[in-house]
């Protein structure tokens, strides 16, 4: 009756749930792709941005779309906490010998897997339509992109699960996620480069963990032409540290339910 076995059971159970309810799978992948197609082509054709490192806005948006997919996915996956609480499943799980922390970790790992698969799918679907340069070579570039996606999803799924276990209502959870993550998405370099922004906005961007994910993805898929990039070492360091911190601190307080489910 190991904690790892319980964690794996909850992981598999959440994964099966998402596969059965396909709407989450489709919406998390297709929304960023639609963004990529319409916004990317519209801005590329209409405004012809010449300063973008990727050459076209569509190609530039790929990294942002991958990050956006992870944001959506972590939000959707963690919202299952409320379904589990309301259907009584959470109480049943908490009546097992395992601590609430094991339960949160199992559920957040499922969120990581789902988010990683979806984000990787966006990257792979976009690949034939944009010209990636893979400056470190295809294998190393893909590995770097995959590592970025995994670290990002560990961070986001852990954060979302920790918030879900603390916020009483699903509406409140979505509100907080939207209020917190959308501004982060805007100032991450996902939709426009941050190095040309005013100093105060640049400062916000560098305090934003998503910036490091966008930077790492661009470095992995394109070339390091210029000083605009932060660097893979720093990107992985920031994402890895924050992901570890979320699991150490954010998931330390476990969900508590009374017998009657209050």
């Amino acid at each position: 009756m190991s904690a790892a076995s319980a964690c794996a059971a909850l992981f598999l159970r959440d994964l099966r749930g998402v596969v059965r309810a396909r709407s989450q799978l489709y919406s998390s992948v297709f929304t960023p792709l639609l963004f990529l197609v319409f916004l990317g082509n519209g801005v590329s054709e209409g405004l012809a941005p010449s300063k973008l490192p990727a050459g076209s806005f569509t190609a530039y948006l790929v990294a942002g779309s991958v990050v956006m997919t992870s944001v959506f996915s972590s939000t959707f996956s963690s919202a299952s906490f409320y379904r589990d609480r309301d259907s009584g499943v959470l109480r049943m799980v908490l009546s097992s010998p395992h601590s609430g922390r094991v339960i949160l970790i199992g559920k957040s790992l499922a969120g990581v897997a789902i988010g990683t698969i979806q984000a990787a799918a966006v990257l792979l679907i976009a690949a034939p339509f944009v010209e990636f340069e893979w400056q470190y070579g295809l294998a190393a570039g893909l590995a770097a992109a995959l590592l970025t996606v995994v670290l990002l999803n560990v961070l986001l799924a852990g954060l979302a699960q920790a918030l879900a276990s603390r916020i009483q209502t699903m509406q409140g959870f979505h509100l907080v996620m939207n209020l917190a993550l959308f501004p982060l998405l805007f100032f991450s370099g996902a939709f426009f480069p941050v190095d040309e922004l005013p100093a105060w906005l640049q400062a916000m961007a560098y305090a934003n963990p998503l910036t490091y994910a966008v930077d790492a993805l661009e470095l992995a898929a394109y070339g390091a032409n210029g000083d605009a990039f932060i660097g893979l070492g720093i990107d992985f360091g920031v994402l890895g540290t924050l992901a570890a911190a979320v699991y150490a601190l954010g998931l330390a307080r476990t969900p508590r339910l009374t017998w009657s489910g209050q």
Binding site: M1, S2, S5, A6, A8, A9, L10, R13, R16, G17, R20, A21, R83, D84, S87, G88, V89, R91, M92, V93, L94, S95, S96, P97, H98, S99, L257, T258, W259, S260, G261
Partner: protein, 312 residues
């Protein structure tokens, strides 16, 4: 082996200003089907939650199998909550699979137990169906199968048959008692006095977070020394009614339209006196045996009747 499966001494538990349990003392023997009976808000569910280590007492000493209830002890405890606790989107088989993994049931044992429990609870042909497609009674049976999946030494049942029709209820208890292995203790928290009377070896009446009485249903009924008489009358005068009340002594006489409800220690001895007091006014007389409900009302009080309290 310790003598009691559950031993609670002077347990206190507060929620803010409200005392859910106050000096709660109880002993549940090994292998018993033990009923906790009390109105809503009396503290039954709070006590069950403490045993399941989902909450901790503020004061007093609680032992389950001789140990303080800690999360690891839940491996020996099965729980059926008042509401269903299965994911409606999961299949019946997956529900049991998850329970098996959470409680460390080996895969081979899990397969065998799944097949056996689904057979006992009449769900074998629904194994691959989603829980959402099951009827209310089937869902309760699945809850029982899930709670029993790791073969717990202690089964906690909180209003397990709420909303279940009498036929399903009988089938459910029959299946549950069939699976009762040697030594398994069952603690049933319920409002249903007839159900407790039928299945429990021992019961405790709970009120305001305290145990008011405990014993076997027979002991508690015997302790009443009371029998109920229902008398249909016509033309009973006020004077005759006063004499009936006087004859009942410390018994109880309630007049309702043309029916007298009389509770006395010895009905057989009292009936001839009734005919002597009001020979022409009596149309029919029936004597009823005391039920667990009568015993309950004596200890807990009619004003605190089941269902009259606030939700627990």
């Amino acid at each position: 082996m310790e003598s009691a499966a559950i031993s609670a001494v002077a347990i206190g538990r507060r929620y803010g200003e409200r005392r859910a349990l106050d000096g709660f003392t109880l002993e549940v023997p090994h292998g018993a089907v033990f009923g906790l009976l009390g109105p809503n808000g009396s503290g039954k569910s709070t006590f069950v939650g403490l045993i399941a280590a989902m909450e901790a007492p503020d004061s007093g000493t609680l032992r389950v199998f001789g140990e303080p209830p800690v999360p690891a002890l839940r491996a020996r405890v099965g729980t059926v909550f008042q509401e269903n606790a299965s994911d409606p989107l999961m299949t019946v088989n997956d529900t049991l699979w998850l329970a098996g993994r959470l409680f460390g049931v080996p895969r081979a044992t899990a397969r065998e137990r799944s097949s056996s429990l689904l057979g006992v609870f009449g769900l074998a042909d629904r194994a691959e169906d989603a829980v959402s497609t099951l009827s209310g009674g089937m869902r309760r049976r699945l809850e029982m199968a899930r709670a029993l999946f790791h073969d717990p030494a202690l089964l906690l049942l909180d209003e397990p048959t709420t909303g279940v029709d009498p036929h399903e209820r009988r089938a459910l208890w029959s299946a549950l008692l069939d699976t009762r292995g040697a030594g398994r203790t069952i603690l049933l928290a319920t409002n249903d006095l007839a159900e407790a009377d039928a299945v429990c070896d021992r019961v405790a009446f709970i009120q305001s977070g305290q145990v008011k009485a405990t014993g076997t249903p027979a002991e508690l009924k015997r302790g009443l020394k009371r029998e109920a008489i229902r008398v249909v009358v016509q033309g009973l005068t006020t004077g005759q009614l006063a004499r009936v009340e006087q004859a009942a002594g410390d018994g109880r006489v309630v007049a309702q339209d043309e029916v007298l409800h009389i509770t006395v220690d010895d009905a057989a001895a009292f009936v001839p006196r009734l005919f002597a007091i009001a020979p022409g006014a009596i149309r029919s007389v029936s004597i009823e045996q005391s039920s667990l409900e009568d015993a309950y009302f004596r200890h807990v009080g009619r004003q605190q009747a089941i269902g009259a309290g606030s939700p627990s």
